[in-house]
Symmetry: C2
Subunit: 314 residues, 2 copies
């Protein structure tokens, strides 16, 4: 395993001809946008390239594959994009794969085994790296490549709002926008809301409680609520950010009941409060402002444990 | 009245020394960000400049004036920024003003009387024009100027999401970000939600009804609801966009009860449905995708009129 430069990445891509591009499970806008953009770039260079997606492509992202068709060949070079850890590679993605030749990622914590690795922790999205590769490879932007790159950088930055955004993110957006229907992409990813998601939000709002003088907000979902709404992972997307957004809240906690009497806890904090340290009390961990853990018990018991811990630290 | 070029605007600003900068009533991020940024630019050039704001500066925007103090002088040159029509100039803003020397704006419909006018309809925000002036005037960015410009362009584009965003918008963001605390600005303008606003949204969600096979969504607020929540204009901000966002909705209608048995109606449409034509049926009007009107009557009567009209056009 060797860490390489972006120029070396470009050289490796030039040297090989039959690519399989691996994306992570629960595929999001960045791994898909980056993956398909890279495939379109390689195909423009006369190479063969397929993207491996775990399960079905989420329907909201089908626009990425409007002009993509699976090619028939045996891949000889395996590239992962936006995959931070081995556990994030789904079974179907790993079909016929016994090693990874090249890992391209932007998660500093990347722990994937690969012959060559390029990890740029300053890139807001893996798609930023794909844009830089496009330039190094001398490939011209088209609607497919630009759409993939715009999707990656916009979704991973919450439409240029999150703190991982950099001037480079905006500069790349300025370059790719003229080549793709970014308005339609924004509509799909940031404007549209399904009725199921709307119902879930209504129900979630009704569960919100404040503690520690308003510095802590807690929301929850139960298995019964999800069943009543027919809600799945799509409806759960983004829920963890709801309590943290309320004015005055320093720690926002989202409790999601899972099968087997366990609650999955997401913790989001403001003003430098350490979410990872909070979650470590319950055997979890993560980032300073966004962490998680699992706690066994019924709703009331788990909630009480969390509130007790909150009142200890606040 | 004469339309002038941006270079001429820069020359006029250089020639004068004592400025009053007018902003519009119900001041938003763009008129305030642009106004204070322009004042800071002019002060850096050794000139005197004050910003006139109608009423109290909204508390969320006080960060724009962290290093701003009113200067004591009699203004000799009056500049309006982001003011699209005479009716948008509040009384207190017009104190001591009998004419406008220079109008700087980005609303193509601008109808303000001014000796010289510069209206760039392609600018996503007036703040884009202020950034260009900064360059022409050779002034260096600092935290105050950059914070004002970032506030203007980010708020007028919904954080780079709305269709008025252009590559130039992103390029300017890339330039000003390193000089200001854009993360804090985003947190205030796009992340934080007051508890009053949260309560209002919960109540609004409970009023949502669908018609025309899900192609129309209607929400409403009544005087009683606003009174119960202590909700004012701040909590109403953005409500009109809620129904349009739901998947499958072509026309989203927001009804707000006003004193005197009148409902103020906001109509937002998708897929090219003409909101202005819809509102003209009730004596209103506006833009193709965002229009309004007023209808007299009680909640049930007004709602029925709207639904009847919707079912006629869909």
């Amino acid at each position: 395993m060797r860490e390489i430069t972006l120029n070396e990445v470009a050289s490796l891509l030039k040297e090989h001809d039959e690519f399989k591009i691996l994306t992570h499970s629960y595929p999001d806008g960045d791994c898909l946008g980056s993956g398909y953009a890279l495939a379109f770039i390689l195909r423009k260079l006369g190479k063969k390239a397929n993207v491996a997606v775990d399960g079905k492509l989420p329907s909201k992202f089908t626009y990425l594959t409007a002009r993509y068709e699976e090619q028939d060949f045996t891949p000889s070079y395996i590239v992962s994009v936006d995959v931070a850890a081995p556990a994030l590679l789904g079974k179907s993605v790993l079909e016929g794969v016994d090693h990874i030749d090249l890992c391209i990622d932007h998660h500093l914590t990347n722990s994937l085994e690969a012959e060559h690795r390029y990890v740029d922790g300053k890139a807001a999205a893996a798609a930023e790296i794909i844009y830089q590769l496009l330039e190094l490879l001398g490939v011209e932007l088209d609607a497919d490549i630009a759409g993939g790159i715009y999707t990656g950088i916009s979704t991973d930055t919450g439409c240029f709002c999150y703190t991982n955004t950099t001037p480079r993110t905006h500069q790349i957006a300025a370059q790719v926008m003229p080549h793709c229907d970014w308005q339609a992409i924004n509509h799909i990813n940031f404007v549209l809301k399904t009725r199921a998601k709307l119902k879930m939000e209504r129900m979630i709002y009704d569960t919100m409680e404040f503690y520690a003088g308003g510095k802590c907000a807690i929301i929850y979902t139960t298995l019964a609520m999800c069943e009543a709404l027919g809600a799945g992972d799509d409806e759960m997307e983004g829920l963890a950010n709801i309590p943290r957004r309320i004015e005055g809240v320093k720690i926002g906690i989202t409790m999601r009941e899972k099968a087997g009497g366990i609650f999955k806890i997401s913790v989001r904090t403001n003003d430098g409060l350490d979410a990872a340290a909070f979650c470590q009390r319950f055997g979890g961990g993560g980032h300073p402002a966004a962490s998680g853990c699992s706690i066994e018990g019924d709703l009331a018991t788990v909630k009480k444990k969390l509130i007790d811990a909150v009142e200890e630290i606040l």
